[in-house]
Each structure stands twice: as C-alpha cells, then as structure tokens.
Symmetry: C2
C-alpha cells in the first residue's frame, strides 16, 4: 500500500472515510439506547483481543472499523446512552461533535494569540456570551478562559491565590508553611488534589463542616479562619461548591464571601455540574453572592451538550492569574504579545499548548440558542422532580437529600447491604447505570439526569427497573 508520494490519507479518501465515520456515529446515536450501559468486559478482556505487536505495514481502514465494533465497543461504558444516570453526565450533541471535528481538522494550537488569533478571540467572546447567558457578575467579563476540567480550573485558581497572598514569592522561593486553605467536607476530590499538587500540603486544607443539606457553614468557616489567624497562619484560599458531587448541595457563596473578603482569602466557586442551570433565570439563585467571588467555573461538558473536555473558568482579576502562570521564553516572543493588546492563553493554564475548544462551544450555543438550552435544562430538572416524587411516594424508598436541580439522592430503606446489592443488580442488568455515594454515612444511590437523549420514557423505565429489582421486605413504616 506504500505510495511513491507517501502514506498520507489524501483529501478524497478523507471525504470517503469521514462519511463512514459520521455514519457510524449517527448509527451509534440511534442504537446506543439498546446497548448495555455499563461495559460488561472483564479486566484485560479488551487488551487480549488486540495484537501484541504494532502493525509493520498499513492496515485497511475497513479492518479498523470492524475492530471498532468487535473489540472497542463492547469495552465502552455508554456515557451517551439515555439510560446513563451515573456520576454526572458528560453529555454531547451533534453540533459539539462537529465542532470538535472542525477543531481537529483546522489543527490549530492556540498557545498564543498569534498562533491563531481566532482561537483566542472566539474563546474570550463566547465566554463573554456565557456571562450574559448565565447572568454572571460583570467583573468576570473579558476574563474567561477554557480549561480542560474543573480540576485544572481549581488548581489555577489556587495558584493565583497562592501567588497573590505571598506577593508572588512562592513561585520563586517555594511555598511557605503558614498558608492555609478551606473547603467543605463535601468538596470535590480535585480540591484536595490541587492543594497537594501546589505544594500546600493537605494538612493545611481545613475541611469545614456542612449544614444538614451538605452546604458549607459560613460560621464554621469563619471560626476556622479566626483560629488560624490567631496562631499566625495565613488563610489564602477557599473553594466553594455550587452543586456538590455527592448530593448537589449549594454552598452559600455570599455568606462565604463575607468571611473571605475581610481576611484576604481568594474565593473560588466550583459549579462544574450545576452552573449550567443558571441558563434559566429561575435557577440563578444557585449563584447568589457570586459577585463577590474571585473565580468561578462550570463545565459545558457536563450538562450543556458540549463534549468533554470543556470547562469555562473566569477570574475577577486576570492579572493575578497571569502573573502566577506566565513564563515568556525567547522562542515564544512576538510583537502581538509585546504590544500587550492581546491575551496569550498559555498564561492562563497549566499546559503550554491548547486546542481550539471555543469552536464547539460556539457551535452548540448557535445551534440551540439560549432558548433551546433552557428548554433541555428545564426538562431534565422536571424529570428529576418526577423521579423524586416517585421515590417519596414509595414505601420502600426514601430521599437522602434535598434536590435543588437534576440529581436525586435516594435509597432503599433496607440498609446499606440492600442498596449495594440493588446497585449491582441494576448495573448488571445493562438497562441503566447508576453510581452511589454516602450521605449521613449511609450507602446512597444517585440518579443524575442530564444525558442529552434522556426523556421521560427512560426515567420511567429506570424507575420501573429499580422498583422491580428491590427485594421484598420491610418498608419505612415497618
């Protein structure tokens, strides 16, 4: 198959193969509902089907496509199935997938403005659109950037806060031992990971207690900070969560800001999952007080139909972020950068290189329009409400936490063992995929409703499967 002019896939072959892949994906969209949601392969099963040695010579594209169906697909857990209710969703959509395709086709590396001005400017622009769309504070306008994940956004915020508090000395001298930071006991693991990575040490991360709903208590935060200040430590960073992973608890941003502000601590707000809800004015209460936060992120790749990865991150003071992350070696110098008239987004993130991710976000927003996005967010919340009502009415099930949006935490009244077995039975059925958490130290199921194709019928079917799979036995009144 070697050719005199080489081995590249020429544009005409790309046209043909591209159509095959597009059709494969369209077919996948049509049939994914019927596939077992959680992959059933055993550890090592996928690898065992792959040839041990790499191919010496080119292989026909047909063979790759055949292996996709026979080897890869059985090893896929179907995040795009309407019966996927696990974790948080990573929902995708046609316009997002095509935006990702375009981004790959253009093959732009947007580390600096000059390496593709459109990559930088569309990103700033679309993130300004989102300031309007989510009703975010004006201080974030012009100060947005796309990160891969909320983990990276939290790390960047933490680094900016670290440098601000130390007068930019920790970048050069290392981290002093008197810095302390705060997050609730319900904060995402990425906060602890960021604290470790940034050299703070998780011993200097105070886990603040929550109220009965799982939200961080401002009074407890204040007490912890005062205690640290009293012994000469320096509170520098607080990570608040709008929509915790376990139960969608909403930390009171305004109340926390009142504690942070006077004590000089950076307040970062992680709304990775829940932030999308703010597309709808009736859900904007989740962001109450956000105008006092120093940074904020949410993930269109969770609930806004934009395929992973796409986390939108804003800072109130972009200079603090850039100062923390900027390095300019000779080989990256250019006139545009030196003019100061442009953003070089490499200085807003951990890696140097970056894809043209704004393209898919732009295509999603234009395809749906604000109204279309609102429509689907509202529908998901309604489905969660419907499901929560079923749980509440059922004698053998109970709600484990309040439900502000589209996550229902519930359990069988029979105790941990019953719920663990139930979860296993459900996921083994292939008909749906749920995951769990612990709330009030009890094993709790999470019904997370946000997959693109999830409709009433899927939620009803899930509920029927759940009730049919639970053991007979005592109910709440017994």
């Amino acid at each position: 198959m070697a050719q005199l002019d080489g081995f590249h896939m020429q544009p005409d072959e790309f046209r043909r193969r591209g159509r095959e892949i597009v059709d494969w994906i369209a077919d996948y969209m049509e049939r994914v509902e019927g596939l077992p949601v959680l992959s059933r392969v055993r550890p090592g099963e996928v690898r065992a089907k792959l040839p041990e040695a790499p191919p010496r010579s080119p292989e026909p594209f047909e063979q790759v496509l055949a292996d996709l169906d026979s080897i890869i697909l059985p090893g896929v857990t179907h995040w795009q199935s309407p019966n996927f209710f696990a974790y948080f969703p990573a929902n995708a959509s046609g316009p997002a997938i095509l935006g990702e395709l375009l981004s790959a086709g253009l093959g732009v590396q947007g580390m600096s403005w000059t390496t593709s001005p459109a990559c930088t400017e569309l990103e700033t622009h679309v993130l300004d659109w989102l300031v309007d769309m989510l009703g975010l504070p004006e201080r974030f306008r012009g100060n947005g950037v796309i990160q891969d994940t909320a983990s990276s956004a939290a790390l960047c915020a933490l680094l900016a806060a670290r440098e601000r508090k130390t007068g930019r000395a920790s970048n050069s001298d290392g981290v002093p031992a008197d810095l302390v930071c705060y997050a609730s006991t319900e904060a995402h693991s990425s906060i602890e990971k960021a604290v470790r990575i940034a050299g703070i040490g998780d011993r200097h991360l105070r886990r603040i207690e929550t109220d009965a709903r799982g939200a961080m208590r401002p009074d407890a935060l204040k007490r912890a900070m005062e205690e640290d200040l009293a012994v000469g430590l320096r509170p520098f960073f607080v990570a608040a969560t709008v929509g915790t992973t376990s139960s969608h608890a909403l930390d009171p941003v305004g109340g926390l800001a009142e504690v942070c502000g006077p004590r000089g601590a950076w307040l970062h707000v992680d709304a990775a999952m829940a932030g999308t809800a703010a597309l709808c004015p009736e859900f904007r209460f989740i962001h109450d007080g956000l105008e006092h936060a120093d940074s904020y992120c949410f993930n269109p790749h969770k609930w806004m139909f934009t395929n992973f990865d796409c986390d939108c991150f804003w800072v109130a003071d972009r200079a603090a972020l850039i100062q923390a992350l900027s390095i300019l070696p000779e080989y990256l110098r250019n006139k545009a950068t030196e003019s100061g008239a442009v953003f070089d987004y490499r200085d807003w993130q951990v890696p140097l290189g970056r894809r043209f991710r704004a393209l898919k976000l732009w295509m999603v927003i234009r395809h749906y329009g604000v109204e279309g996005l609102q429509f689907h967010v509202r529908r998901h919340v309604e489905l969660a409400e419907w499901f929560a009502q079923r749980v509440d009415e059922h004698p053998q099930f109970e709600l484990a936490a309040p439900r502000p949006l589209n996550l229902v935490c519930f359990r069988h009244v029979g105790g941990d063992e019953v719920n663990e077995r139930l979860l296993e039975t459900l996921n083994a059925s292939g008909e749906l995929f749920l995951t769990h958490t612990r709330i009030d130290d009890r094993f709790t199921l999470r019904m997370s409703i946000g997959q693109t194709w999830t409709e009433q019928a899927h939620v009803e079917s899930a509920w029927n499967t759940i009730t049919a799979s639970c053991p007979p036995g005592r109910d709440r009144s017994s």
Copy 2:
C-alpha cells in the same frame, strides 16, 4: 425552529451536517497551501465581527458554516499548511482527525477503568506498541499513559519525584525548603513552570550549563548536585531534554543518569518533539541511556501525525506516580478499582476527567503502519538536510547549530537587525511562517520541517523566498 421533542440535532441531520464538515475539512486540506500561513488579522478584528449578544433562538447551520469562512478562517494561523515551519509542528492526518471525531462521538469519559474499559486498555496497549516502535526500555512497558502535553507530563514526573524524595510527606505537609532540581539552561519553559506550580520555587531550580552544542553537561550537573548536597540540600529531580526547543540539542541521557542514580534524583527525559525520530532505528541514538531514566515523554501531536493533544508519558515505577496523584472519594469507588486488577488513569494525571485519546493514536498507527511513519519521518529529516546544505553553501547565511534531525537553525550573517527584519518580511509575505530563537546570544531563525503535507517543493520554495528577501550586502567572507 423549536420542536416538540426539543432542539437536539437528530441523527439524520447529524449525517447531513457531518458530511458537510468532512467536506469542508477535505477542501481545507486541498486549499490550505494557498492561504497566508500566519494570520493577518489585527488584535480585536475577529471579535469585532462577532455579534455582541448570544443568540436567543437557534441559528441555521448554514450561517455557522458561512461565519466559519468569513470570520474564523482569516483569524487562523495555518498549522496544517505545508509552508508552516514555525515553532515545532503540530501535524495532523486524516486517520487522527477521524479518531478524534470517533472519540467525540462515543463521548466517553475515561477517568476510571470502569467508566470505559476500552479507553484505558487501548491506551495501555498502544503505549506498549510504542515501546516496541521507538525501541524504548522494557521498564516502561505497561507503564504508559497519555497526557495532554509534555508540560503536564513534566509536572507529573516532578510530583512523583517530589513525593518519592519526601517519603510522600509533601502531599500532606507541603514542600520542604531543601528540595532542589536541575535542568539545562536550554530546557523548555514548561520545566520552570512545573517547578513553580509544584511549590518548589524556581530559586531551587538550577540551570545547568550546556556544551557548545546546547546539551546539558553531566560534569556541570554533578558539580551542582555535589554543591547542593554539601550544604544539606536534597537533589530530587533532573529534567533532561532530547531535542531542545531552541536548537534540537540532545542532552546525554546516559551521562546524566550516572549522575542522578547514586544521588537519588529522578531523571525525567522530555523528547516532546524529537522522540518520534526513534521510529527509525538509525535515529535511536537520541535515546542512548534512556534505560536508566525514571520517566520519559514524547508528543505524537508534534511529529507523528496525531492531532493535538496527545503526549505519551511513561514511568519506570508507576507506583511512585500513582501514589503522588491518587485520591479515591466514595463516589468514585467501584469493584474493579478495589480489585487492583485495573488502571484508573485519573491517578496518573492532574485532572480527573479524560477523553478517549488512544483511539486516534491507534488509528494513526494502523493507517500508516510502522513503515509508513518511518517513511515520512525520514523524508522530513532529508528535507532538513537539504535545507541545511543550501544554508551552508550560501555566502550570506550560516548554520547556527548542529542539525541532528529536522530542525535547522540558521541566520543571515548581517546581524540581529537584518535577521529580525528578514523574519518579519518572510512572515508578512504569507508564503511561509518561521519563528526565531537566540543562539550564542544572536537572533536566529528556526526552520522546523515536520508538517504532514510538507514536500521538497515547499522547502525549495521557502529557501527561494528567504534568499530573495534578504538584503544585498556583505557575506561571510567580507
């Protein structure tokens, strides 16, 4: 345009629109050669063409495609042009683009094995293929993972080294002030950035002098380490570069390993650009001594026809990496993880979530076969050799550094100002795009040859443009 069943792009529309985008990309491949390589827009020009407010209602796909041509494309610097000779390439190819498309269509989030076993197992498998393909040391087999960039790989290596040296105490207690690390004066800026991020402080990064070729001197490294040890400091990490950004200098890995080993310092080898050359046995000398390194990375997204992002990273001791980066909250617990029989790649990287990037790498390797990849790597090196000869023969130009592979560093003999003006003229012509560095404190042009579609004709044309653009005047003998 609202429908009763919502606003999603249905599979049949996806088929139609998908073909349009595939055709758009194929057309782009055919015409990119004729477009000005470096975008000519001025700061703010792209944004000025975008509507200030986000769309309330859905917009027709045709309008998005039209804006792609009229607004986005003029703001693109064409990394996929055969006349792109700037920085290092970020070369793409048909199979890679289609692999990225498939990955977006499947929409898998591979944070844990269980969240898509194929995502994890194909990744481990293809990275094992690459151990064979590049002739990497056996100690890396089974220990590979895909990162977004070499920056992130360096950070992960640094964190693993930090935790190993401190007996895993710095994750909990913070970074002690006695840790020191090393890289040459020519090391990439990402090393310094990682040192800052990880809380080491760049004051504790020793920049080791290089030899005349720009390669780190083991004797100088040894001296620096001994000095640090003598005053009670703890050397814990050395970043070596195989193919520096400025000039493709090759740090002597074996010689550095001899210094690191007895002193307990982790040796990380960054071959982001040059590593791909090891596909060809005749270029494997670049990795001499790699069997003594603790970690290694190279970027298929630079020179191996795999669109950004895709950095392949291996460690000799995966436990050190995992211990540094692992956190397991309740909501991520699952049987497969607890069995210990699987990898959860979230513990091998900074973020939690991850795309199915192995798919595109798998498709590239199968499309080209090892022979196809070798063919194109050799061709690029031959083109660089041809170009270097032209420089060497020309009275007004000189080579600024040795050329081990596909990067030619050269300059006009007329001095910095002449070269700066020349670079500006060339890039303004739109016919090619070059960037610069400083070598021996002189402004130097870099001709980096590795774009997918670059052929002899493009390099000849570049050379003709360069010589035609340089001022008349004194030559080397004058």
